[in-house]
Amino acid sequence: MAKLEKIIEIESLYKSFRKGNQIIPVLQNISFDIMDGEFLALMGPSGSGKSTLLNLIAGIDKPDSGSIFVQGIDITNLDERTLSRWRSEHVGFIFQFYNLIPVLTAFENIELPLLMMNLSAKDRKEHVDFALSIVGLYDRKDHYPKQLSGGQQQRVAIARAIVTDPSIIVADEPTGDLDKKSAEDVLNLMSELNQKFGKTIIMVTHDLRAAKYAKSMKYLDKGVLINGSAEIFI
């Protein structure tokens, strides 16, 4: 059953980059809400600002102006230390190139976000084992990233994203580096996380096939949010 509460409220968001003396606007007056339990695909051409918007929602970048309320907290006003703690508790990250730590095993990579919580080694193990069972890689837990295929590495990254049971998962081109079969597996897994576990997922993608796994889409062009269904623009 669909949930109707707003989990993220974005208001009048502006972001620009400075290149020498030139100021390049990246996001202009972005305002929209994301509902709890939504699976949103952010689409748009390269340089449209979709990854920047995702970074702002995830709290790893700061806007020039505007606010982002997540569960009632304006994360743009949090200091760096508080924001780091907030990310570790509320946001799971999935990156295009998996971003696993090469010298740590799958188990240790997944355990990383739990180190910031006051959990015993036994509790951490239980959490990691559970996350591994969801992504179906329990038997590969002692493998290092280079011993895993791209699809398997991305599933480890998904396990790492969900191990702290965050309310929001952000994914930046999660299938961009995968073959078709692996991409489908990853997208099915993300759908399952959304539908079965109620995770709110915001996914940046170029790929319309990937976007079709999402429940809703938003389209950005030159830093501006275009109203209407994304399919219209693709």
Binding site: T52, N55, A58, I60, D61, E80, R81, S84, R85, W86, R87, S88, E89, F93, F95, F97, N99, I101, P102, V103, L104, E108, E111, L112, P113, L115, M116, R160
Partner: protein, 388 residues
Amino acid sequence: MKLILLYSLRNLIRRKLTTLLTASGMALVILVFSAVLMLSEGLRKTLIKTGSPDNVVVIRKSAGSEVQSGIDKEQANIIEISPEISLNDRGKRLVAKELVVLIGLTKKGTDKLSNVVIRGVMEMSLPLRSQVRLKEGKMIRWGTNEIIVGSKIAENFDGVKIGSFLSFGQRQWQVVGIFDGGTTGFNSEIWADVEQLKQSFRRPTYSSIIFKLSDLKDFENLKMRLENDPRLTVEVKKEMQYYEDQSAMMTRFIKVLGVSMTIVFSIGAILGAMITMYSAVAQRKREIGTLRALGFQKVTILAAFLMESLLLSFAGCIGGLFLSSFLQFYTISTMNWQTFSELAFSFTLTPKIILQSLIFSLIMGVIGGLIPALKASSQKIVDALRTD
């Protein structure tokens, strides 16, 4: 914390060659650093061991060492009847009046002359030096020109075999024995009958009076009494303190010179560590961005990279100490500038030197790793994540 430590350790293992080369640079610095301290400690220990805890040395006031000291017969007589002096089994006072002179002897394998201590001893000198044992030959017959030589003199100098003659003080002296003074400085001395030595060098005075106290608690009173006696111009020291003072100048010189040199060398090792850590930061930008995105605080990233640098320097420390530990098998024979005489001593590794080397290496690790670690921790997350 365990995982962060593993992360740092495994990153070092992954870059085997760079790690090995950087740690080797640090190991060489630690080798020099610990070797200098071991040398200085070896000298100090040898001289301290030369003294016995309950022996007292009396020399002329302000003389500094036995070589520069002179105590005339009258003064010696006053000192040797001190009631604090211990008696042996036969009721005789354990006191010896000794004379120290220097002669030049040729070192083996060179044509260079080195100063060697000739100590004029008397019968009571031996029970006062329990460390000294006759190793070969026989003891001096009192009243003759016979001499016995220390084991390091026998090893390092020419013409000191048993039966050979040495010419000094206008006389011919026959070597009749070799004695072993354990790890003391006596090994670097030649002993003769004090009265014969006085006559041959035409010395009217003794260099020092050595005696054993019956009770150590009497030392302060004895010192005050003798040093304030208007008939005497003497300085009273515990024998161990006397020998420690003999090592002070040279140990300080070795330490100051050696440590200054090591600090200069360490700059190279620190720069090596810095380059290694900078390259580690550059290669792992995206990893750093990921860790920060996951919620790790800046200070954790700083700690992880600093830990890596510290592990590197720790490895260097272990390597350096391992190499320097072999120096303990090596004995050095050189001039002690305080006494102007030859002294043989070994490199001595102590827990204190291990600790000092560890601290020094960790300081190198902190200096080498801090700036790269600060750079790693202060990167913007989005910029770090964008790295290829």
